[in-house]
């Protein structure tokens, strides 16, 4: 029983990590934040992570043409996430990222988009059914605490998120078979418009819907887990209406993130994960930048 729990814990910690990493990319802003969810049998969890990524393809335009320079942006993200069961199968979570974006001698850092979530385990796996997955649904609210691209007066270098109020819902399905485990996640969100006024743009930004679909597979050996995941991410175009009368419809943004990871379950209380992510390998990206990165995560858990 303990062995199963160990495998499950290590899988879930990695799963959460991968879902977050997969969406922390794209040009300038940083993508939509993923919720922190307890998918195991814990009462609470606290996660800290540090990731360092480099933009390796500076621009993929709206027609899918890739452009690459010799000098790239680097992004470093420190994130604190937590979740707590507050009633039977209900839980609440938060995510607070701090992001630094740099290019050559220019450095900009600050708070990214904070997100909060409420989740409900609508499909429990109490009887260890061989086929039926465990299912958790979630509702997420994202606060525009990070600057949007248009808010940045230095070409997006000062941007630290989507920068919009956003409301999303999604689900996470997980399943374990012996030493193998897998997950599938789906999330849909609606971002809300806002007014921007700075030296480069004065007018209204109108974002739309966005979403992501992720799948992952893992193999567990004793206290270790080796996993891979792939997440496709989509955002509607952000329409800009300048007060001067010049407007633009923008373009949709799309990319896919592949990730490999190794986790170590030190005890029932804490664990660590090291991972590599790459956005240049999969999918058909448009209107984005593509990154590669390394990340380290440590997670503490409290049993029920």
């Amino acid at each position: 029983m303990k062995h199963i729990l160990v495998l499950s814990f290590s899988f879930f910690l990695l799963l959460i990590f991968n879902v977050n990493q997969a969406q922390a990319a794209a040009c300038c802003g940083g993508g939509f934040a993923a919720p922190s969810i307890i998918a195991g049998d814990d009462k609470a969890q606290l996660t800290t992570s540090f990731s360092a990524t480099e933009v390796v393809v500076d621009n993929v335009d709206a027609q899918g043409i890739w452009r690459k320079w010799d000098t790239h942006q680097q992004v470093q993200t420190f994130k604190i996430e937590g979740a707590h069961i507050f009633w039977d199968r209900y839980q609440a979570g938060f995510s607070i990222p701090i992001i630094q974006r740099s290019r050559e001698s220019l450095n900009y850092s600050g708070l990214g988009d904070i997100s909060t979530s409420i989740a409900y385990e609508y499909l429990p796996d109490w009887d260890y059914n061989p086929l039926r997955p465990n299912g958790i649904g979630f509702l997420q609210l994202t606060l525009p605490t990070g600057k949007s691209r248009a808010d940045s007066e230095v070409g997006g270098l000062g941007s630290r998120g989507n920068g919009f109020w956003a409301l999303g819902l999604g689900t996470l399905l997980t399943k374990t078979w012996a030493k193998f485990d897998s997950f599938a996640s789906f999330e849909l969100h609606r971002s809300f418009g806002k007014d921007v006024s700075n030296s480069q743009f004065t007018g209204k930004l109108e974002p739309g819907y966005g979403g992501s679909l992720g799948v992952g597979l893992g193999y567990n050996v004793k206290d270790y887990r080796f996993g891979s995941s792939l997440t496709w991410t989509y955002e509607d175009a952000v329409k800009t209406d300048s007060n001067s009368g010049i407007g633009n419809e923008g373009a949709i943004e799309r990319f896919a993130t592949g990730a490999l990871s190794a986790s170590y379950m030190a005890s029932d209380e804490w664990s660590g994960t090291f991972s590599y992510s790459d956005q240049t390998l999969f999918g058909s990206p448009v209107n984005t930048s593509l990154e590669r990165g390394l990340a380290l995560q440590v997670q503490w858990r409290w049993e029920r």
């Binding site: 040009c27 300038c28 393809v57 500076d58 621009n59 335009d61 709206a62 899918g64 043409i65 890739w66 452009r67 690459k68 320079w69 010799d70 000098t71 050559e104 061989p130 949007s148 691209r149 248009a150 940045s152 007066e153 230095v154 070409g155 997006g156 270098l157 941007s159 078979w177 012996a178 030493k179 193998f180 897998s182 030296s199 480069q200 743009f201 004065t202 930004l205 799948v215 597979l217 891979s228 792939l230 800009t240 300048s242 007060n243 001067s244 009368g245 010049i246 633009n248 923008g250 373009a251 943004e253 896919a256 240049t280 390998l281 999969f282 999918g283 058909s284 990206p285 209107n287 930048s289």
Partner: protein, 154 residues
């Protein structure tokens, strides 16, 4: 058995979903970093409200690592023979580098008047390659009262 099948299916899906990059590399490079070809004074580019026309050229074309500068002229067309007559704008315009597909700008530029209807914009640097607009804005305080733009691939 089920796990192995799932692994196989996902492996096939991963391979089938591989990206196919179509690269354009260093599209902005030029031998001397300049492009002295001035656009024709045929009023193809004009300000929204004043109707004044604009021509421009790179004084020093920026690269991925070097800052550039551009010269632009504002003029009206002579009513008799349509020849260009250079005239000043009501104030020194602001030049904004804007990427319309992604909805963000680039580093701020500086513009100064160098002669009648002739301006120099310095500190021109595109933060990334791609589709860009150079927006020429006449402002009254923070309000844009007149504007025109050109589009370019960089």
């Amino acid at each position: 058995m089920f796990g192995k099948n799932l692994f196989l299916i996902l492996t096939v899906a991963f391979v089938a979903g591989c990206a196919e990059p179509k690269y354009v590399r260093d599209s902005n490079t030029s031998n001397d970093g300049t492009n002295a070809q001035e656009s024709k004074a045929d009023c193809q580019v004009s300000f929204t409200n004043s109707g004044l026309c604009l021509t421009w050229f790179w004084e020093k074309k920026p690269t991925s690592t070097e800052i550039g500068s551009l010269i632009f002229k504002t003029y009206r067309l002579n009513s008799v023979d349509q020849t260009p007559i250079e005239v000043d704008l009501t104030s020194i315009p602001q030049v904004v580098l804007w990427m319309p597909s992604m909805g963000h700008g680039s580093t701020p530029t500086q513009t100064a008047r160098v002669d009648e209807g002739t301006y120099r914009t310095t500190n021109v640097f595109f933060i990334m390659p791609g589709d860009w607009e150079i927006r020429f804005q006449v402002k009254n305080g923070t309000e844009v009262i007149d504007e025109t733009h050109i589009s370019l691939e960089f």
